[in-house]
Symmetry: D2
Subunit: 471 residues, 4 copies
């Protein structure tokens, strides 16, 4: 019955350890890349990392990145190497990116293509969603195989008609089919056709600047799509995960749909929490870096989202990292594409490195508890997307993805100090308390006192499990 | 200043006269086809109609009929003659039918075609909505001309993909354009594509009977479309009129959208109030006569609709009269088309003659007040669709469309006693109190103690005015 | 069957006549003090009043006045003569005042006392509510007798502990007992004890100015009492009428309680619609004239009330006329009683003369329709309190209480031009369109082109009927 | 930096350990009465408890018991010895009981009295709320002293006029004062006066059986008091904890009040979850054991409460253990007091021993997750009432209050098998899965494989800390 002496590899000693419910001051013992024990443990011969005064949190899980994403004959600025390096510096040890089906093509070939992009290049663990552009019979048939390959989530778009948008019947089919195999559908909720009409009208009327971006994507057309998504999910008797909610009305709609029996998981992003549509008042292309879809909203919207986070109405905060440079370079379409037409600005902003620090800042400001921090930054997305119990928490048995935060640090976010491949951050100048100091990935030290030790290839593909939560 | 003696044509004496707010016992004096005076009036030499013990109400306005409607190479069973004759027997003196655009064709040609169907054949006054199947630039350009022709409402469908359905951008355009010219858009709210998917699935699984009709058109797919309609209307800053709401969830959605600032007018029909989905449990084709879209719902849904009527949340009760015979005849596709496939049953039921009596029955049962009766049966639809102040009430100046109800009468509804051109009524056997006894149309006596005096051609086309209610 | 020539007393010719649903241009014929006929009528030998270009509306019904009300050893400034004279100038032909039970005394003696105050002095018709201070067994026993005397409504206070406040069990008993005899209970909804505590605290902390009035009577303590009132009404299975709602939260609470099955009638007042709490920022006693209970609220609250009026959520707009002079005179306690303690300012403001004109102004501004105007100013309170069908509308058979408004008039409200017995109006300087020009009371001309013809004693006591609306 | 070998006292090995967010299979090492480490630990010379196949949960925290409570000249049947013994057998290691102020007396004297009742007799740790009957100035002055003594919560009653009930101003004062010192007010929400009126009426009408118990305490009078409590809390800018919510409408009210900005913590009890008002249909005194206040409600109410538990809307499930024997004995008033008058039945039921097992059963039925179980049974009440981080969870540093559940066990609850001092349980015959097998209290083994090792006096008084959650 007694066991041989626990041979820990190393012990992080004396940190304030955060779990998604509680916290305590003590040790984290790691063995074989996993958390072996918590509390007052005997280190024996194991290395000891003095973490007194630091906060230990589980490595962040960012469920929404777009690295090396094809666009307009090029790709987004960050590839899997620069993207995951930035993630690491920001305390995120697992990302889930979107393999994207080409219209008419198979899902498995998309998965293969994305493996080719990522394999051997990552400094954080990674997994894939499958972004659907054409939920054909063939695609439907591949869903089970995808799940076996660890891709247990599909994403469909209610926006972007003509390119990414799926029709409601395809969404319904995808929800049903996914549910059969234990996969989860996530949806981008904006009414694509109505927005296209508003955009056409704006352009026809000569309204071409970025100030028209939010006007042509009003909150009611997001909330409408949220309601539609929930209705389709109910009709399919399936859960649904809604990405990047931005508006108070959307959250209120989620609330009501849940009360009506829909099983809806919801995500928002730091940009919708910390920024507002006032950014679009900047002149000319100065507003372009802030063009994201859905657009930034009002301060009241942001306030409602904060309240929703605090109340446990969101399951995840993701970055939706999608980086385009200010200026177009060869193979790198830039924000300046929209010089004469706001609708041609490639939508998206970098955020994988700032996501977890901005959530930590919310703890410092009293907007969310430490428990909520762990849930939104790591545990929630891990549970939603089949990474739990390997990822997302620090209990014994979990991957030793450990992040030490120095809570005394205080600095403004600047593009210069970040590690992604574009030269701006929408959060420029925002002061945050706390800095990511050390990061372990499956027990391997990747960041040490802010110095990078990890290398491309240290990050591994994580085959995600099928949905386990009950419906 | 004094005027010559009022030369009334006739005086209806001693009725209980209902207005949409009040009632009184007194006279209605008619001159030149209009209501000249109310109260205690001196008849002079005018004919006197003794109406003591009877109830005088304004002639009913049915804003939703489908007479002589093309379908499957034939038409609905009732044409404008049989349809308006039935209307008259049911106390309805004005109907609004749907001229329907052929895909790709012009709106004005559709209007012309419908005038040809109706002119000279009607026994009640009539007007047209324009049903849109293709809101092209050409169609958009015709809207102003239509309005000048008295067609101040368009109807679009969110259901029936491939035939009638419009995409959301077309709906948005139609809302905007209509609002510019003071026309109103009405929408059939069901999610066409999602329903098509549920139907395909049902058929694929061999579920082919009418019991699948309500299962493939669940309430959440109606409520979803209601929410979408309201969002599009808000985006267009236009009002919207939602036809034939059938479900509690839809009404609740209307309520919330109104609170959110949408200007939504709502209609329901007697079939959703008096019948329920239990009719679909009948074996084989016995259920087919009850196939209407949206389908009949639960008793709880009906109860919620009744409460909504009482609370003033609906602006109109319409019949959605759309009559198909049980058996297909040449040129008259029948309910038996769905013998092996419920989705092929032509949807619709007759109701133009029973609509007003069923609303009067609701007064007798205490479900609605007399004021609400007038509003829902006549005044509400007249106001919504630009027929007011000519139609829908009995104030001085209004058309003398007068209906006398004998409140002591009590009888069961039977198809045999009705005047439409199909041999069934979904309300067979339902006992109603009160009978339509006399009807005047613009002062002309059309029905006298139940005997028909009017003739085809007595009914005239009514050019409707543009929207007057404020937004 | 034919009747003798209608011998009208006079005919108001050519006015735009408003009913609560509709309007028309035509005549109003009056005989025997009642409306005899509407429309185009033959005047015969009757006097003709040329009303072309004017608007004829039913005489206003103000369901909430406090004339000759005992307070602090004196009374309010207006007695039944000055009060009803002011009413008349403001187009109000019926008022309902509050006979108030002395603690421990009988209700009938209070009624007798109030008859003594009013009889022979009124220039408008009048009726009484019974204000309860002590719903004892004896009081309960008197309710049936009161109803027979035409007092078919009780009022209880959830505010003012120690003087007027009733405990919840007394309210429950009163609701039940009143319902048995067809009487209606109205309630002043504010949590008296909690407010008293907030006031004590404010005074203890040395906060003594009128700016503390709204702070110590926050909207949540009104909304709380609204919810309580509705719960007690539900427990008693009785309807309830809530006086002078002032806050958005209260209206929202009413809405929810109605959805939960409570039968709640609601009233608000012009001061809550046109004014705001910013008045309390005036220095010293300058704010005292605006001290009313509940206090004036924010502009957002007012906006919510306007929306509620437009949507038909209120049944009446009353004045809550309760006039105290700025300076105390013998027998007339004044607003200056609160010089050193805001809680000693006698609460109330004059408004009986400005109520109907301010509602008409709302029509001009597009805030409410003419139908809603009639409903809120006359028909709604008449129906709620058993004055209908005699009062509140202009249908044949109703009392010929007719008001002609000259819609082209435009002037600012000034205390100088008003006829009540205090020298201020809270609406000083507010410009209104439309002026009351002529008033008939039961066919007797009381006001002619702005000149007073009526005399004290022309107003009669109206014995109100029991509740007729269904529950 | 390195530490000496961890000298654990014992190690619970191989259990499935539940935290409020997660679970893992591993060890719990205990030293000095506290959890020292979790996971794979080296036991060294420490005793090893083989817990493979068992589930380890934190010792339950029951925040609502009434042991040795004075009533009708006697006391409840359970004293602190029998009560805490029963608690222990049910896996509960900490209870919070109510020291109750005598009207007019000091709070400190009540605390003293309750210490005398409990000290040296308990087998579980215990703390005290202070139940207020008279929040006088003196009482207010004692609140700070109470907090220093570890009594950081007051309880007031909106029910029971004449004995326990506080008026709203007293509640407001108590909320304010408590908030100043970091104490929490809990409230019993039922409208005492309205209920008293309903009871008087029932008795007057000769309705004397227990079937009248729920009829005289309808859900709307609970929901009303909930709304009132929240309004007073908002007015005081203080949090509030609502005990034993029983009705769907109450929960819905909590939801809306939270959305309106009130900080409301909520508790329910197993009786409201597993039982219903149908128990009151039992004849004669057979219904009396089920008389609790608020009463048992409908199955729909219970369903709504379950949904609320699952959704995280409650912070605690407490027993409200209040045991009266079926038959009155000397010093032990019994349920038979209500033989001729249901209102004289002493309200309450035993439940301290069945609480945690019934929550565990809910996990087995899929009604709540294991995380929610820990939260509701232990962590939530510990956090609400200042016992956290000592109590309520199993993280390193917490008191070693450990409960091992044998999940394979399955048995019906029977009074015979329970350890409290009355001979019935309202849950008689209800089958539950899982049995409490072993219990440690601060590292001391109190129950071993179902055998009692602990003794009176092993339980200690826990001085609770002040409120730490942010408002």
């Amino acid at each position: 019955m007694n066991r041989p002496a626990a041979a820990y590899d190393f012990v992080v000693r004396g940190a304030t350890v955060l779990t998604s419910a509680d916290s305590f001051v003590g040790d984290i013992a790691v063995a074989d890349g996993r958390v072996a024990a918590l509390g007052a443990v005997e280190a024996g011969t194991a290395e000891i990392v003095d973490a007194r005064g630091l906060v230990a949190v589980p490595g962040g899980v960012d469920a929404h990145t777009h690295f090396d994403m094809p666009f307009a004959g090029g790709t987004t600025a960050d590839d899997f190497e620069t993207g995951t390096r930035a993630a690491l510096f920001g305390g995120t040890t697992t990302i889930i990116d979107f393999a994207t089906q080409r219209r008419g093509a198979s899902l498995l070939s998309a998965l293969e293509a994305w493996h080719a992009k990522a394999d051997g290049r990552c400094l954080a663990d990674y997994a894939f969603h499958m972004a659907i552009t054409d939920f054909s019979a063939r695609a439907s048939a591949e869903v089970e195989r995808l799940a076996r390959e660890g891709v247990t989530s599909l994403k469909l778009y209610l926006a972007y008609p003509g390119t990414l948008m799926s029709e409601d019947d395809a969404v319904l089919r995808a929800l049903r089919r996914s549910n059969e195999v234990g996969a989860l559908v996530s949806l981008h909720c904006e009414n694509g056709r109505a927005i296209a009409e508003l955009v056409r009208r704006a352009l026809r009327e000569g309204r071409r600047g970025c100030a028209n971006h939010p006007l042509t994507r009003p909150p009611e057309l997001e909330a409408e799509a949220v309601r539609r998504a929930a209705a389709l999910a109910r009709a399919a008797r399936a859960p649904v995960y809604l990405v990047h909610l931005s508006a108070a009305e959307s959250l209120e709609t989620v609330r009501r749909c849940r009360q009506g029996g829909a099983f809806v998981l919801a995500e928002t992003c730091p940009q919708y929490l910390y920024l507002s549509a006032r950014e679009y008042e900047r002149p000319g292309l100065a507003a372009a870096p802030f063009v994201v879809c859905p657009p930034l909203r009002s301060r009241e919207d942001a306030q409602a989202l904060w309240a929703g986070l605090a109340a446990g109405e969101f399951q995840a905060v993701a970055s939706d990292h999608c980086s385009f440079p200010a200026r177009t370079r060869p193979g790198r379409p830039g924000k300046d594409r929209g010089r004469r037409d706001f609708s041609r600005v490639p939508g998206g902003a970098p955020g994988v490195e700032t996501r977890l620090p901005l959530l930590w800042e919310a703890v410092q400001r009293g907007d969310i508890s430490t428990g909520r921090f762990v849930e939104l930054a790591a545990c929630g997305p891990a549970k939603a997307f089949g990474l739990y119990p390997r990822k997302g928490h620090l209990n014994p048995g979990a991957d030793a993805d450990i992040v030490l935060i120095d809570p005394r640090h205080r600095a403004a976010i600047t593009a210069r100090a970040l590690h992604h491949a574009v030269d701006y951050t929408p959060f420029e100048g925002l002061t945050v308390h706390g800095a990511v100091r050390d990061v372990w990935l499956r027990g391997k030290r990747m960041l040490s006192q802010g110095r990078l030790l990890g290398r491309p290839g240290d990050g591994r593909y994580i085959s995600r499990s099928r949905r386990q939560f009950c419906l």
